[in-house]
Amino acid sequence: MKNSVLLGTLAFAGLAAAGASAATLDDVKARGSLNCGVTTGVPGFAEPDANGVWQGFDVAVCRAVAAAVLGDPEAVTFVPTTGKTRFTALASGEIDMLARNTTWTFSRDTDLKFDFVGVNYYDGQGFMVPADLGVSSATELDGATVCIQTGTTTELNLADFFRVNGMSYEPVPIETGAEAVQQYLAGACDVYTTDRSALAAQRAGFEAPDDSVILPEVVSKEPLGPLVRHGDSEWADIVRWTLNAMISAEELGVTKDNVEEMAASPGDNPEINRLLGTEGELGAMIGLDATWAKNAIAAVGNYGEVFDTNIGESTAIGLARGLNAQYTDGGLIYSPPFR
């Protein structure tokens, strides 16, 4: 708590406070830290470790933006949000950006007045069932009891899927992933449904992961990405292009380890040079230092590195790149050019 805020409140100084907030970039710079909304804990995506340091795939986006704007990946205040609070937290200015498994949908982008700046993970809703149930397809689930982790578009996709296929089901909506898993493991529901990435992450933590199978059906498109408030395009540009810088860096072979070297001795690839600020004025165009992208990459690594260290196949979560491979490798991850 800022002391002056406390005193100000006590003295009713708040009565005099007025005036709309300035541009988000100025706020962040003045504050010296980025307020970034994350989940309350999804392994691999955003989760505090045993020392209370936030780690994960979404967290890396926050850190990259902080590094680009403030030059310090640690200058982030992580604000855990639930499905209920995330939008108001962003709308009311409590957080500057939301990097939390949030699906980019039409109504959220338009009706709720937010701007999705890109997609950092292409997900889809899936089903997990015990292997001994003998179910091989989600279309065999008529009459099943389904545990749902609430707070995303999960409930709606589920309802649509069962209705379209003319099947009935009993929903058991649970707020936290941990409790939903607990119900599933106790056999209180036949099926557990949420985003496939979360299914894989949670299955990895089971006592016997092989006793559960993730069904092949993907019942929804869940492009997850960071979002910002509507109406501050400059700030939206910064977040968007920080994400793009991470993606381009992977495509161009810039990694956490070689980024300093590449910046120090510019090579002959003009796009790398523009990205790292050794050529052109890209940083100035979005109101940042020339080295903004270099800082971001040096702090967290490129997109592929972030993926591999947090959720990739070498981790306990073990997600394959799949749709989230670079477009050159048959995936959907694609950054517009830096020029």
Binding site: V5, A20, S21, G41, P43, E47, T88, G93, V181, E207
Partner: protein
């Protein structure tokens, strides 16, 4: 006749028999058992049922505790050690104990500060609870909030010192003002004095931020049982004065004041705390000027304080109503004005009657602080439901964690309620 038979009697006792012990069934354990356990058919059946229940509970509980393991870094280690012998995996408590108490974000090298603040609590609270302790010890109580604030949140000591000074200044200004201009003017002067000193303090703190500075911890990083304690203590202590004002307002003859108090109290008592927390979390931001960024913890404190002050107001209203009308009339006939009558005659008696009720509200409130876990704050329950249960190392460890939560809450709440019962006995002897 008696003469005739005197010779035929073979033996006549000429000394007293030594007293025999009562029959085995009428003494000691057996008597107690006959009276308390087997005094009838129904009673015997109930005893058997009771023994069966106790046996059932203990037969599950004892192996769980005795066989439990305290070693291991994850549930897999536990499973290896236990080999399915029914023991509990208490290693999770050992490994995550600090997180359960302080949340996952409070810097671990600073754990001594909230611990010290908690220890000082035992110095600060008894003077309020036990009337027999010397009055001067109340100084500890008065100083405690500022010390605890400094210890837990850190930062420069100037802020709490000047806050304390502001309160002192306000108190003396009020005393002086009241003597010269009356109660209301005194109150106004006190407020002004408070604001002036607080303003100076704010200024000084911004000029000299390094003075007596200890590492400051933002309130986002509060968590675990500490958060429950902070919320409980802060909200109860804030809501008592507000509750008194509301209770007086509800009894007032001024229709607007009374109307407002009635509407406020009934509104707050009519809605669940969880909706008020939703308001704090989701809606309150709309009603504040853009840019004012209260911490969630401050918003939650405001809402819980509102909530508990309405309940405390009702308890105090009961105390006010329980006073004989003669007390009010006596105060009036002495020529005391309203503030004097309340301060000198009515409130001291009414508050004394209300203390057990207030303590009950406090216990209820302390338990209700667990609801903040629903709005993504990591109190004790939030820590268990969120980070610990979802961590890959401890997925599937429920009972040990919930048992720990139960024990922590039980110790505190049972302690307070025992105090409340003790106090009720004390107060009862005063009246009879």
């Amino acid at each position: 006749m008696s003469d005739a038979h005197a010779h035929s009697v073979a033996f006549v006792r000429d000394s007293e028999i030594p007293p025999a012990p009562p029959p085995a069934a009428e003494t000691g354990v057996v008597k107690w058992m006959r009276e308390n356990l087997f005094s009838g058919v129904v009673n015997t059946i109930m005893t058997v049922i009771g023994v069966f229940i106790i046996f059932y509970l203990l037969s599950g509980l004892i192996p769980w505790i005795v066989n439990g393991t305290w070693e291991g870094a994850s549930i897999r280690d536990c499973r290896e050690v236990l080999q399915g012998n029914g023991g509990g995996c208490f290693a999770v408590l050992r490994e995550r104990w600090a997180q359960l108490l302080f949340g996952f974000q409070y810097p671990s090298e600073l754990y001594w500060r909230p611990t010290l603040a908690f220890a000082l609590l035992f110095l600060a609270v008894p003077p309020v609870l036990f009337f027999k302790l010397p009055r001067w010890m109340l100084v500890f109580t008065a100083l405690y909030p500022f010390v605890a604030f400094w210890l837990i949140w850190g930062g420069t000591a100037i802020t709490p010192i000047f806050l304390l000074l502001a309160f002192v200044a306000a108190f003396f200004a009020f005393k002086e003002g009241e003597k010269r201009f009356g109660f209301v003017a005194g109150l106004a002067i006190g407020l002004v004095a408070f604001a002036i000193v607080a303003f100076i303090g704010d200024f000084v703190a911004s000029e000299e931020p390094g003075w007596l500075r200890i590492t400051s911890v933002p309130s986002r990083e509060m968590g675990g049982f500490m958060l429950n304690m902070i919320l409980g203590l802060v909200c109860v202590s804030l809501s008592i004065p507000i509750g008194i004002v509301l209770a007086l307002g509800r009894q007032s003859r001024l229709p607007i004041v009374k109307g407002f108090c009635v509407v406020f109290i009934e509104f707050v008592r009519g809605v669940p705390l969880i909706t008020l927390l939703f308001v704090a979390n989701v809606v309150l931001a709309y009603f504040l000027p853009p840019g004012t960024n209260f911490d969630l913890i401050v918003r939650v404190i405001i809402m819980i304080t509102m909530f508990s002050s309405a309940y405390i107001a009702e308890v105090i209203r009961g105390g006010l109503a329980a006073l004989p009308k003669g007390q009010y009339e006596a105060a009036d006939s002495l020529g005391l004005d309203y503030p004097q009558a309340m301060r000198l005659i009515i409130l001291p008696q009414a508050l004394k009657i209300s203390i057990p009720g207030i303590v009950n509200v406090a216990v209820g409130l302390f338990k209700d602080t667990t609801l903040v876990s629903v709005i993504s704050m990591f109190d004790l329950v939030g820590m268990i439901r969120g980070p610990i249960l979802s961590s890959t190392a401890w997925v599937g460890v429920y009972w040990e964690l919930w048992a720990a939560a139960c024990v922590l809450f039980f110790v505190v709440c049972y302690g307070i309620s025992q105090y409340s019962q003790w106090l009720e006995r004390q107060l009862r002897t005063d009246h009879r």
